[in-house]
């Protein structure tokens, strides 16, 4: 009985901590404006990045040279996106409010991926410039 209670409470606490942790990572990029360069590369013309663009953006991120330091946060956000995707699908017919919230979170994940892509493109450019300068 006690073990069952601990199990249920721990799972509920885990979900709350994990969601808050992911949101703390997403919050760091929420106000970052996307550059024209990344808009051009991804074909995003709207102010907001669509939630469905996440996978495509992540594929583009993986094509760029790794910065090393953003690997962990990308992995965490990828897991969070998957969780929100499942929640969105399950909650849509029963709890539209929850589904709308999950959709908004997915959109934040996509914005995060676009910012990560932007940073990696800048990093690639810097690398290229440095290599050209070294050759000269």
């Amino acid at each position: 009985m006690i073990a069952a209670l601990i199990c249920v409470i721990s799972i509920a606490a885990f979900l709350q901590f994990f969601v808050s942790y992911c949101r703390s990572i997403l919050a760091s990029t929420r106000k970052v404006e996307l550059s024209d360069r990344v808009r051009e590369a991804t074909g995003i013309s709207d102010q907001n990045v669509a939630a469905e663009d996440f996978e495509r953006l992540l594929q583009l991120v993986r094509l760029c040279p790794e910065r090393g330091e953003d690997q962990n946060e990308i992995r965490v956000v990828w897991t969070y996106y998957g969780l929100m995707d499942v929640l969105n699908r399950i909650a849509r017919p029963i709890f539209p409010g929850v589904a709308a919230w999950a959709q908004q979170e997915r959109q934040s994940c996509s914005h995060f991926a676009a910012v990560a892509l932007d940073r990696r493109i800048s990093y690639s450019r810097d690398l290229f410039t440095q290599q050209v300068a070294d050759r000269l």
Partner: protein, 233 residues
């Protein structure tokens, strides 16, 4: 018998635990987060000890099993010290350092008395089942303490990103581990096939998340906590 994946987890765990301490020293935060760094150093030493025991006596030896579970319980108690340190950091401006210290001592005493009562009750069969129960209870106390801390962070509108991320990562770790222990208590058969992998993977989470926070989030970074609370429309 351990496979390559188990060894990879052990070695990665050790390296990441050391990385947290190195990162904190490099960023000049070793003494600011002294309990956290001491905990990580202890965890790295325990991981190293476990590796040596596995090599010398084997994964299924009773020596390894007892070392694993009892060092885990002791490390959890050290982790309570880290939680208390976070409480002190949160309430630093209120000047309640003495009260927090007193509460920490009371909590430790209560945990010790509770553990003693459990040991006394189970003295006829001090088996792994008992240590699983003890681990489950200790981690659950950790979940409750971290949850209260998180509530205080939200209530006081704490904005230090680093503190927030350190606390949330700890909450994820405590709750995942307590849940795993409880599941193991409820369904012992799951241990062989699935739950066997969870503690080492969850054990990697905490040093990884803390290393990330020390490396990527500056002490000056601020965050609006209102954005973190889950609210559906």
């Amino acid at each position: 018998m351990l496979g390559p994946f188990d060894y990879a987890l052990l070695v990665t765990g050790f390296l990441v635990e050391v990385a947290v301490v190195v990162c904190a020293i490099y960023r000049g935060n070793f003494f600011r987060y002294l309990p956290l760094n001491l905990y990580m150093a202890c965890t790295a030493l325990v991981t190293l000890g476990q590796y040596l025991l596995i090599r010398r006596l084997g994964f299924t030896s009773p020596e390894y099993l007892y070392t694993y579970y009892y060092s885990d319980s002791l490390l959890t108690i050290v982790l309570f010290w880290v939680v208390m340190h976070f409480y002190q950091q949160l309430f630093v401006e209120m000047g309640v350092r003495r009260q927090i210290r007193l509460a920490a001592m009371l909590l430790l005493a209560a945990t010790a008395i509770f553990s003693y009562a459990v040991v006394h009750h189970n003295r006829a069969h001090l088996t792994t089942r008992f240590v699983v129960e003890l681990g489950q209870n200790l981690y659950f106390v950790g979940v409750v303490l971290t949850y209260l801390l998180w509530g205080a962070i939200l209530k006081l509108r704490e904005t230090r990103t680093r503190l927030i991320q350190l606390v949330l990562a700890l909450g994820v770790y405590f709750s995942a581990t307590a849940g795993t222990y409880a599941l193991r208590n409820l369904f012992p058969s799951l241990q062989q096939h699935f739950l066997h992998w969870v503690p080492p993977v969850v054990g990697l989470w905490l040093p990884l998340a803390w290393a990330y926070t020390f490396a990527m989030v500056s002490e000056a970074a601020r965050l609006a906590t209102a954005r973190l609370a889950v609210k559906t429309r």
